[in-house]
């Protein structure tokens, strides 16, 4: 997952999770710096981002910097693919899209319950079934158009 962050009023990135944690460890970033990755609705303080907060807050605490007040809030960082699933289900005329919707519907709830790994796995499955449905839909559309052009 690639992250962007705001440092001294300037947007930086994309960087990896490890790089962000490295910057936190080095004291170049703290829990109040805003960060964002694809799938998040908006920029959030690093201290409020579940994926980054566990270690960063420990590090921040050890450095004596004030904690963000909203530590428990988990931001939607794992993409759900819900809208993509619905579009491929309705437009590709295939039952595979429904599988994607079922996985997509689990992501937010799993993430909220703290099961980040489970949410990430559901997100990956939703993405996979979106791709399967989309590619088969495109394949059939191409075959239809080609056959239509030939007849």
């Amino acid at each position: 997952m690639k992250w962007h962050f705001i440092q001294q009023d300037e947007q930086q990135g994309p960087v990896t999770e490890e790089q962000i944690k490295g910057l936190l460890a080095a004291g170049n970033l703290n829990a109040d710096n805003l960060a964002w990755c694809e799938g998040m609705a908006e920029w959030k303080p690093i201290g409020e981002i579940a994926e980054l907060s566990v270690r960063s807050l420990n590090e921040v605490a050890s450095k004596g910097i004030s904690k963000s007040p909203n530590v428990s809030a988990r931001e939607n960082c794992i993409p759900t693919y819900l809208w993509q699933s619905i579009v491929v289900t309705i437009c590709c005329c295939l039952p595979f899209g429904v599988v994607a919707i079922v996985y997509a519907s689990k992501v937010a709830a799993l993430e909220q319950s703290g099961d980040i790994a489970g949410a990430a796995a559901a997100s990956e499955s939703a993405k996979k079934w979106c791709h399967v449905s989309f590619l088969i839909g495109v394949l059939f559309t191409v075959i239809t158009v080609v056959l239509g052009a030939l007849t």
């Binding site: 962007h4 300037e10 947007q11 930086q12 990135g13 994309p14 960087v15 964002w36 694809e38 998040m40 609705a41 908006e42 920029w43 939607n76 759900t80 819900l82 809208w83 993509q84 619905i86 579009v87 289900t89 309705i90 437009c91 590709c92 005329c93 295939l94 039952p95 899209g97 429904v98 919707i101 079922v102 997509a104 519907s105 689990k106 992501v107 937010a108 709830a109 909220q112 059939f140 075959i143 239809t144 158009v145 056959l147 239509g148 007849t151």
Partner: protein, 141 residues
């Protein structure tokens, strides 16, 4: 490590433009030839004789282009409601994705909104295949 997300990412913008052009072409084809003259029907429907969630959307879209809203809704009532919402959701994410930034706004679904949508979609898919009234009205006709 200068910010990369300040502008538009060219290949993403190009891909979105290509898809928009293809959608425009498909719309023009649909309007000019009508849904009945599409060369092949739905392969899934021919093979299984079942109506999937999207069945009737080509006819519904055509009816919508002609301004016949009720006819469009009767072809696929759920699709006519859910597809516009989903397209807005996807478009907002695409606007962010093209710029390597967050979506400018996301549709607030709450904790269980996505699950409710999944249940509605599955129920709709099952019910519209039942052969008796009122359920068969949910199928295309």
């Amino acid at each position: 490590m200068k910010a990369e997300g300040q502008g538009v990412i060219p290949w993403r913008a190009g891909l979105v433009l290509l898809i928009l052009v293809l959608l425009g072409f498909a719309s023009w084809l649909l309007v000019s030839t009508g849904p009945e003259s599409m060369p092949l029907g739905c392969v899934f429907h021919q093979w299984s004789d079942l109506h999937c969630v999207g069945c009737g959307m080509t006819r519904a879209t055509f009816a919508l282009f002609e301004g016949r809203l009720l006819a469009a809704i009767s072809q696929n009532p759920l699709g006519m409601v859910l597809l516009p919402i989903a397209l807005i959701g996807v478009s907002l994410e695409v606007i962010g994705w093209v710029q390597g930034k967050p979506a400018p706004w996301t549709i607030p679904l709450g904790a269980h909104g996505a699950k409710i949508i999944a249940i509605i979609v599955i129920a709709f898919m099952i019910l519209r295949n039942l052969p008796w009234a009122p359920f068969h009205w949910l199928g295309p006709h």
